[in-house]
């Protein structure tokens, strides 16, 4: 910035301090707009962060399952080639192919079976056990999900170490059902995970294939991402090889999609009040140019060019914008603080224990980029609002301007 522009800014401050009351009103207009924007976005971002944090802590975020995808209208199967490709994606810690199938018990309880290599069970799914332990490779041992284990124990008296008979129903060429029975040995019950694995029975991949599942291909690939920050890029990579990624990261995506909408929607309303602030600046500056017609004519007579006059008026607008934006940021921060102090207990009292976590966390999240955006928006809008007054001022006829009584 050249030194003359700095002097124009100093002049602008002088000019504005001459009309203090009007300046305060105008600045208040733009500040309220910025505060509304900062406040609503902070609230939206705070809620988004809360929700995402909740998903992170309550679910197994780094676990992804790659399922057959659809590209065009063609089903993309989980071939061994794709399984290898998925396993070597950047950000993947470990992976294992799975096959899925449906069995029933003698007591007519339907059981979702997932076949996974024994090393994949420990290396990818990484379960913790409520009781017992994992299965060994090549055995007929199985592991039960928490909910399934509970159900089988309650209604069918199934216990760890007791053989369990699974029935697989298939149909012959004439459409008659054929039931095949298999006996497996439950050796462990997993702790509750909060996902679909609570309902499944896990067995060795070879056993599942031997029982007729998979039809030569895989049902999916279990993938463990290196960390929460790699999950989304791994999911992208899975999409890249034609498969469809599933996992609790999708909940985060859904939350993000929803909060994007909410923030944009609220932001539009807040933006409207900012627009009003911009109109106020335009009105203030038009009045100011009108009142200072003679002054502008004199500036031209003593050597100000059209560009100089433009710059002087726009400098005043920029100063209004900076003050308005800064006050708005400050107001927005106060607004967020009030929300954080009063809003948490209010929500907790209204919606009960589920929101108790809000008591000691921030529901409105003010970030530096948000504050910077508020300031920039205020300045940009002020300059935009000042364009017409500045143009008008710079195109005054100096003779008429000096002759005018203003």
């Amino acid at each position: 910035m050249n030194s003359r522009l700095i002097e124009f800014f100093q002049l602008a401050v002088r000019q504005l301090s001459r009309r203090r009351f009007r300046v305060i009103l105008t600045v208040a207009g733009i500040a309220i707009g910025v505060a509304a924007l900062v406040g609503t976005v902070a609230l939206g971002e705070g809620i988004r962060t809360q929700a995402v944090e909740a998903i992170r802590t309550q679910s197994d975020l780094t676990l992804i399952e790659a399922l057959p995808g659809v590209e065009g209208n063609v089903l993309q199967l989980v071939t061994p080639t794709r399984a290898t490709a998925a396993g070597s994606l950047p950000g993947v810690a470990s992976s294992a192919p799975v096959v899925r199938g449906t069995f029933a018990t003698k007591g007519q309880t339907y059981v979702q079976v997932v076949g996974v290599p024994a090393d994949g069970l420990d290396g990818v799914l990484r379960p913790t056990y409520l009781r017992g332990s994992g299965f060994s490779p090549g055995s007929d041992q199985v592991v039960l999900g928490a909910a399934l284990g509970e159900k089988l124990q309650r209604y069918e008296g199934v216990r760890i170490g007791d053989p369990l008979v699974l029935v697989r129903r298939s149909y012959d060429a004439q459409g008659r059902p054929i039931d095949e029975e298999t006996t497996v040995l439950p050796v462990g019950v997993m702790e509750e995970r909060g996902d679909a694995y609570d309902q499944v029975l896990l067995m060795d991949l070879d056993l599942a294939v031997r029982l007729g599942e998979g039809d030569g291909g895989y049902s999916g690939i279990l993938i463990r991402a290196e960390g929460p920050d790699r999950v989304f890029s791994v999911a992208e990579g899975v999409r890249g090889i034609g498969l469809s990624p599933r996992g609790s990261f999708e909940q985060i995506e859904a939350v993000n999609r929803m909060m994007d909408m909410v923030v944009i929607f609220l932001g539009i309303f807040a933006g409207l009040s900012l627009l009003v602030g911009g109109l106020m600046i335009a009105s203030t500056m038009i009045t100011s140019v009108y009142e200072r017609t003679r002054e502008i004519g004199i500036a031209m007579a003593v050597g100000a060019s059209e560009g100089d006059v433009m710059e002087m008026i726009l400098a005043e607008c920029a100063v209004l914008g900076v003050i308005g934006g800064a006050c708005g940021d400050l107001l927005g921060v106060c607004f967020a603080m009030v929300l954080n102090i009063l809003g948490g207990p209010f929500l907790a009292s209204r919606f009960g224990d589920a929101f108790l976590g809000l008591l000691d966390t921030e529901i409105a999240l003010v970030t530096w980029p948000l504050l910077a955006a508020g300031l920039l928006l205020a300045v940009g809008l002020s300059l935009l609002a000042g364009l017409y007054p500045a143009w008008k001022a710079s195109h005054l006829n100096p003779v008429e301007a000096i002759r005018s009584g203003r």
Binding site: R14, R18, I298, A299, A301, V302, A304, E306, D308, I402
Partner: protein, 222 residues
Amino acid sequence: MSSPILEARGLSRHYPGGVRALEGVDLRLGRGEFVAVIGRSGSGKSTLLNIVGGLDAPSEGSVAVNGTLLDFSNRRALVSFRREMVGFVFQQFNLIPSLTARENVEYPLLFNYRPPAERQEKANALLAMVGLGDRASHYPGQLSGGEQQRVAIARALVADSPLILADEPTGNLDSATSEGIFSLLQRLNRERGVTLLVVTHERELASYADRTIEMRDGRVVA
């Protein structure tokens, strides 16, 4: 007389509706001359000053300053002409109310890209010269009409412009103060050699000038 600093030929200024504010005016100002322009209200005195100062364009005719023709269609050229060649003093409310006397005097230099230290020094010296050295930090509202006009005269001198144009600089002042302003102008003319073209209503004040031009109905009559 040496080569003129300003030479206007056949200046006319017509306004829509048939108003002929100027009609074929010739004007020649020698270097260092102090010329007064008198005439009735509406005779075209301000119009003439505005045109030779590059604020207004003539309908016909030409203006040459230091032998160079002014190009009235070139805005940039007019701006630098006003910056470098002329200093204006108007009838009243010459000053920017939000700036102090010194800042007002400096004001033209802001557009001339001069460094602040140089500007301040120059403004202070000029204020002292017009007898307002102790009022530098006062705002126009704190100065009398005569003092304001003296600040305006200091401002007209600050860019070292060789030509000073004053349009009724004492129009709103009592006669004693007006005499003071004109004797100041005379002193500047003698001591600094600036060329002055000053409009006034009063013949007694015109006697401070070397020469008087009288206008009537857009023409120079004497």
